[in-house]
Symmetry: C2
Amino acid sequence: MTVKLEDIAKETGFSLSTVSRVLSNSNYPVSDQIREKVLHSAESLGYSPNIAARSLRTDRTETIGIVVDDLLSPFTPPIVRGIQDYLIEKNYLSLIVNSDWDPEQEQAAIRTLINRPVDGIIFVEYSHMTSDDILKQSKKPRVFVHRLFGSPINNSVVPDDYYGARLAVSHLVALGHERIAYINGPENWHNCRARMKGYRDTLKENKLPFRTDWLQRGNWEIESGYAAAQKMLQLPKHPTGIFAGNDLMALGAIYAIQDSGLQVPNDIAVVGYDNRDFTNIFRPGITTVNMPVGEMGKVAAEIILRQIETGQKDEEEVKIQGNLIIRETCGAPEMDRTRQGPDPRTISRRILFNKQPEEGND
Amino acid sequence: MTVKLEDIAKETGFSLSTVSRVLSNSNYPVSDQIREKVLHSAESLGYSPNIAARSLRTDRTETIGIVVDDLLSPFTPPIVRGIQDYLIEKNYLSLIVNSDWDPEQEQAAIRTLINRPVDGIIFVEYSHMTSDDILKQSKKPRVFVHRLFGSPINNSVVPDDYYGARLAVSHLVALGHERIAYINGPENWHNCRARMKGYRDTLKENKLPFRTDWLQRGNWEIESGYAAAQKMLQLPKHPTGIFAGNDLMALGAIYAIQDSGLQVPNDIAVVGYDNRDFTNIFRPGITTVNMPVGEMGKVAAEIILRQIETGQKDEEEVKIQGNLIIRETCGAPEMDRTRQGPDPRTISRRILFNKQPEEGND
DNA sequence: CTTGACTCAGAAAACGTTTTCTGCTACTAT
DNA sequence: ATAGTAGCAGAAAACGTTTTCTGAGTCAAG
């Protein structure tokens, strides 16, 4: 049915071997005459190689397995997209399996992927290391992206949370705030530890006070941001700037501030973290630290292809720096907003917010 | 290196054939004694089949190709997740390729997937049909999910937009609204035509007036919802209920209403469409029509596996009905909100919104 | 001339399965 | 008794490649 090497061999009169040598780009010498005839015939017959047969023979499949916690987690799609964009360029495909945050399912996923023809595996966000031995034994390289738990490890690419926190806090400092609070995430997430350090270091460098009153712990959810801000607002001297560990908690904080009769940013400034989609369609637009998720995926893909090429040589953890997206919750001049390379998915809110007085002619 | 059938054959003393027959679950009769010994040996050696070899022989790969427009489109991840959840249950994996809304890239994607071992292809959201002949020729089944353009086609699963629009408009009717407006999307999207019909039919059935003043066309973006609502607000008799074609335009409309000094839902009620994530964290929570995206993916997966099993028999287009998620922008009693099976990703806003009077003891 | 090296084409083996084909044994029905 | 038939095990072919091995021809150096 489908056309195979043999068909081309028959049509051109050359042997299977030569045909294969031409079509697989081997660097075995083949005369130009023959090469051309074979290529022509392949083209006209519409030949395409049977990948199963090829990979049976070569033990390479040009496919990468991706184990994600859940394709619905907010960062997973952009990370995966970053990976795929690089892979497709190099003629690799990707097989995606969900682990659902469950060690058992993860292990099953790994087994499945190893059995299948994949040349390597990339883990996104979550990864118990329970079955790492299976992996090691398989001799296939593996790389971790945005790993959230556990200690640093080779072959992983993570965001630079320390740097990100410094960006956020420095922004508040630059705007003149001297009472700066932080709503942290759960302690066992290692990004929280790094951001905490960034927060404290930045305060210290600017000779600003660190007060435990101004440090609250949330659980990433909107309600915890609300509750944290509420507590701070009851203090005799409440903070004038709040750095929240993620955008959801920032939003919760904003709601709490508004409910107490104060305004954002006039009374209290708020910075979020993550640059989630909704931060750009809220009023006021939420100033936040952008996670370079696509970039992280790309780097992970680069690493794994390099390791497949050169044969598994562990590489150091690489950290990727994000950037600050200035919107409205800090009251900083908007100008900076356009300076950021715009995410094509974000929506320019210019029109919307220049509309209020109804006479602003742009 | 890795253990293969031959190793088990050697260890147990049986032939390759028998070992294979046991391990591939063939229904060829094998004595129980032998079966057990082989299974035991396979287990202890840690055998796992070489999929490349198997699929070379059987021409089946237990892998489905998924062509998506862009993994970052809002509905794509949940649709894909729905597909994958069903596939993994049936021991199938999925290979995902992005087409970036580009016919050429889509064609490249199809070629790549056909060459690769996939047993069928599912198209998500977008699909030019330019290269459908290649596909047909390959004899591999293909199914479309949530196809946005072009005329209805076999082997596709789409949301029931007519039904969804009726849900939304009926809700406004039930709340007593008599002047109901509709912000439609671009004409060339066929879901807009269906929703339009749902809107008009529902009005007619309830003997409510249809006025072209109350019909505006947007482009799905937030600004177009804002502009549409603004126009309506300038009318001598503005509508008291607005049905927006998607959540972003609904949000734009809400902003416009608020900017004009009116309140949602007290003065004007708003219903969105899509049940995007942000509708649940906004204040007021946006009442909207939920798109059954995961379900659609699941059904698509069912169809394609069935067709692989039975050998390509075209099936009719199937329509999936969504449901109404009642939140706050229509002022309906909240009760209904909990009745919906909660999406695990959405956040209960109960706490947040029962907080205002500060004495509500739940 | 002859020899050795080099160039390139073809034959054949190999990758790890599944499955068809053979054939042996043991039982059943005549 | 004997032919026919299940029931089951093993040999071997096949899937479509890549790659090693073999060998024929050409050319340059002695």
